[in-house]
Amino acid sequence: MGSMLEIMKKVRDEGDAPDPAVEGVVELMPEEAARGGPAAADSRFTQSEPGAVSDLVAEAASVAFPSTQEWDAKLIDPAVVAFHARYSVECEQFRSVRARLLSMNSGGDPCVLAITSSVPGEGKSTCTLNLGMVMAEGGEQRTLIVDADLRRASITRMLALDGQSGLSDLLRGTGTVKQHVYPTPYENLKVLPAGAACGAGQSELLGSARLRQVFAELRGAFDYVFVDMPPVSTVADASVLGPRCDAALLILQMRRTPEPVAQQAVRTLQANKVRVLGCILTRHHERHAHMYDINEYYNYGS
């Protein structure tokens, strides 16, 4: 899978009407890559103050990205239904989660949500990506997805941002937030990858004091920050990251996650004073049997 830079190059080469902004970003890519972040190559990011994260992000958000149709679908993981199948049943289910979250946060306060699971492989990264995309697709919520799973970096891999700078670099004190935030097919959705030097040995970075500062910056710059955390029952990273977040969503895979493990995960989160908003069940086979045929609904009247 290629990187985001390759996507942008492809968009520039194959696009009918290349956007000047994209052109600028792409032109700076070699230099940016040398520094370890795309935003660093953008002059508009560099002209801004490092502390004024919100402004910078807002400015970055204003950069015209290609529409979802213009992005190469092969470079984004097929599990991201919010990109590949926006009218699918599963995407609609993520929109339902979005509606629940918005109703819970009726005041519109900035919200940092940790998304975790009890055991690996339950679909938390997929959920995080899809949830972030459906949250951003309305254009009203400034959304950031943080790949805080430094051991696996699933989101980074799913968006083909492998090797790019990110959270680990940020925690290590390299660069600023704006230098490590990457655009996505959605205009107001940004991604903070795990970082270039992610791995099992980098998880100690999560315990650094820099993390609080970073999260404070993110809280001020985005309306919703979805933090993809490692599994609760597997590693202790969630115990470190969880308290930095406002609440947590627990991902459970149907017919796979053992009940005692899930209970232990909830108890662990609650022991770390993490407010568990609720859970999202994945791979729920029976769900399809009761779902309204959404494709038919969207075709209705057309």
């Binding site: 629940r100 979250l101 679909g123 009940e259 999202i280 086979h285």
Partner: protein
């Protein structure tokens, strides 16, 4: 609404089971196929029971049945009531077992019940061959029974032979019993005939005793008897008259003889004789007057008539004497009277009177004897007539009784004759006839186990195995299976349930799963259907099944180029 709650519970329960089956259909199918296939395969070794049945009818002769049942203490009802025991009782089964050769003849005594050892041997023999018999009355009327006899055994030939042996044994046994009944009935009839004959003889004797002297007298004909009595009385009266007349004549002749003997010779003798005759006539008149006045006798009374006859005889004698006296007087007047009769004439008169008297006395003795005889007959017949008048009803009853007894005796003799005719016939035609309506057939299809029952049981076993497997898997599975379970277990709300995102990886996994499962399921279904078909085929067409297996056993070594048995499993 509250009344929807039970239905809601039912729906939830059904939905829960449907969810279980939907989620566990693969292990369920595996369990179903394995258990049901095993059950189907094992069913080939279930012991088979074959049945053979025959239908025959037993038709009783209605006339004979009624004759026996109405006229004797014996009947065919006992044959009907003991039909089942006669056909399937221990003795019948023992005889059939001996006929089939599965029981030693020594185990069955010629008469009487089976011994303990015999019963034990019989039970063992029946159990070894699985022999069991049952009787069903398809139709039962007083004179016609349609019987269905069924035998079950492990071997169809044995069942067929057993049913034939039982049927033939029953028919033979029944005929023997009918012969016994006929013999007993004949003895009874003979006894009755003898008894009735004796009764009739006694009655006839009692009836004939009073009339033995009066043959031809009908005790019922009172008028005839009265007329006969009158005739006897008339005869007696006639004899009485004759006797009286003869007595009078004898008396006259005696007086005449006495007068002649005592009379002196001359005319005075005639007058004296006339006087004595007149005195005798006066005496008779006096007696006759007394009889008619005092004794109230009519002129027709024999005694009166006898007196009249006596008087008439004396009167005639007196007239003779008067005429004789007149002639003598004329002779005396003409000759100068007093010419006396000579002694020779006198002697002749005496002799004549003596002879006439003797003849009259003899006649009188004869008439007297006849009269006495007639009087005795009149007296006896009068007594009989009085008895007839007094006890006529009893005599008539006796006569009727004799007639009835004669009729009854004739009827019983007819019965006896009929019975003799029947007993003279062949034993097959004695009263009851048997007709086989349906001969026992050798059925290939076992009656137990039934094909459908085996199919049902094996399928049910498979379903039970599948359910058991599902239950075990559900018990061992600690994962979440529903949103409600998650909410209950964790105490947090479920925001949404996301379905399976159809990524290429998921599709690949699905395809791989299908690739693995399709042949597996095909194999399982093939095994299931094959074993099921084998089980059904072995039950419904066992001979064809065995033949096919034998051919297969022979064909496989040939195909493999082996000389011997390749060890193909063949159902015993």
């Amino acid at each position: 609404m509250t009344h929807d709650r039970p239905m809601e519970d039912v729906r939830n329960t059904i939905g829960e089971y449907a969810r279980l089956v939907r989620n566990r259909w693969r292990p369920a199918l595996v369990g179903l196929a394995l258990v049901a296939s095993t059950a189907f395969w094992c069913s080939q070794w279930l012991p088979r029971r074959f049945a053979a049945s025959t239908i025959f009818e037993r038709r009783d002769d209605v006339v004979l049945r009624n004759l026996i049942s109405k006229n004797s203490p014996y009947s065919f009802e006992s044959l009907k009531s003991t039909l089942v025991m006669d056909m399937t009782g221990s003795r019948a089964m023992a005889n059939a077992a001996v006929t089939l050769g599965i029981l030693a003849p020594e185990a069955v005594p010629a008469e009487g019940p089976l011994t303990e050892a015999g019963l034990r041997a019989l039970d063992e023999a029946l159990a070894a061959h699985g022999l069991r018999a049952s009787v069903q009355m398809l139709q039962s009327t007083p004179s016609l029974d349609t019987i269905k006899l069924t035998c079950e055994a492990h071997d169809p030939d044995m069942a067929q032979r057993c049913v034939v042996a039982l049927r033939d044994g029953y028919i033979s046994h029944t005929r023997d019993r009918i012969t016994d009944v006929l013999r007993s009935t004949r003895r009874f009839f003979q006894t009755e005939v003898d008894r009735l004959q004796q009764q009739l003889s006694s009655t006839n004797q009692a009836l004939a005793e009073p009339f033995k002297d009066f043959p031809g007298l009908d005790p019922n004909d009172t008028a005839g008897a009265g007329h006969r009595l009158e005739v006897l009385r008339s005869e007696r009266e006639r004899l009485l008259e004759r006797k009286t007349e003869l007595e009078a004549q004898v008396a006259v002749h005696e007086q005449y003889a006495a007068l002649i003997a005592d009379q002196p010779a001359g005319a005075g003798a005639t007058e004296a004789f006339q006087r004595s005759v007149r005195a005798a006539m006066a005496k008779i008149d006096q007696e006759m007057g007394e009889a008619m006045a005092l004794r109230r006798m009519t002129a027709e009374h024999p005694e009166v008539r006898g007196l009249q006859a006596k008087r008439a005889a004396l009167s005639a004698l007196l007239e003779e004497l008067v005429r004789q006296s007149s002639a003598e007087a004329l002779a005396h007047a003409g000759d100068g009277w007093a010419v006396s009769a000579p002694d020779g004439e006198r002697n002749a008169q005496q002799l004549r009177a003596k002879l006439e008297l003797e003849a009259l006395q003899r006649q009188l003795a004869a008439v007297q004897a006849k009269f006495e005889q007639a009087d005795e007959r009149v007296n006896r017949f009068g007594t009989l007539f009085e008895r007839l008048l007094k006890h006529g009803a009893g005599l008539r009853d006796l006569t009727d009784q004799a007639a009835t007894q004669a009729d009854t005796l004739a009827t019983w003799r007819e019965h006896l004759l009929q019975l003799d005719r029947i007993m003279a016939a062949d034993s097959e035609q004695r009263g009851t006839s048997f007709a086989v309506l349906e001969e026992a057939k050798n059925s290939d299809r076992p009656v137990s186990p039934r094909g459908k029952a085996v199919m049902a049981v094996c399928t049910a076993s498979g379903l039970a195995g599948a359910a058991l497997l599902i239950g075990i898997l559900e018990l061992l599975d600690r994962s979440f299976r529903s949103a409600g379970q998650v909410a209950r277990a964790l105490g947090i709300p479920v925001l949404e349930s996301i379905g399976v995102i159809p990524t290429p990886q998921v599709r690949r996994k699905r395809w791989l799963c299908r690739l693995l499962w399709a042949p597996t399921l095909t194999l399982l279904l093939a095994v299931l259907l094959t074993t099921g078909a084998l089980a059904y085929f072995s039950l419904e067409h066992p001979r064809a099944y065995d033949s096919a297996l034998t051919n297969l056993r022979d064909a496989v070594p040939r195909y493999l180029g082996l000389g011997g048995n390749c060890g193909t499993s063949v159902r015993p």
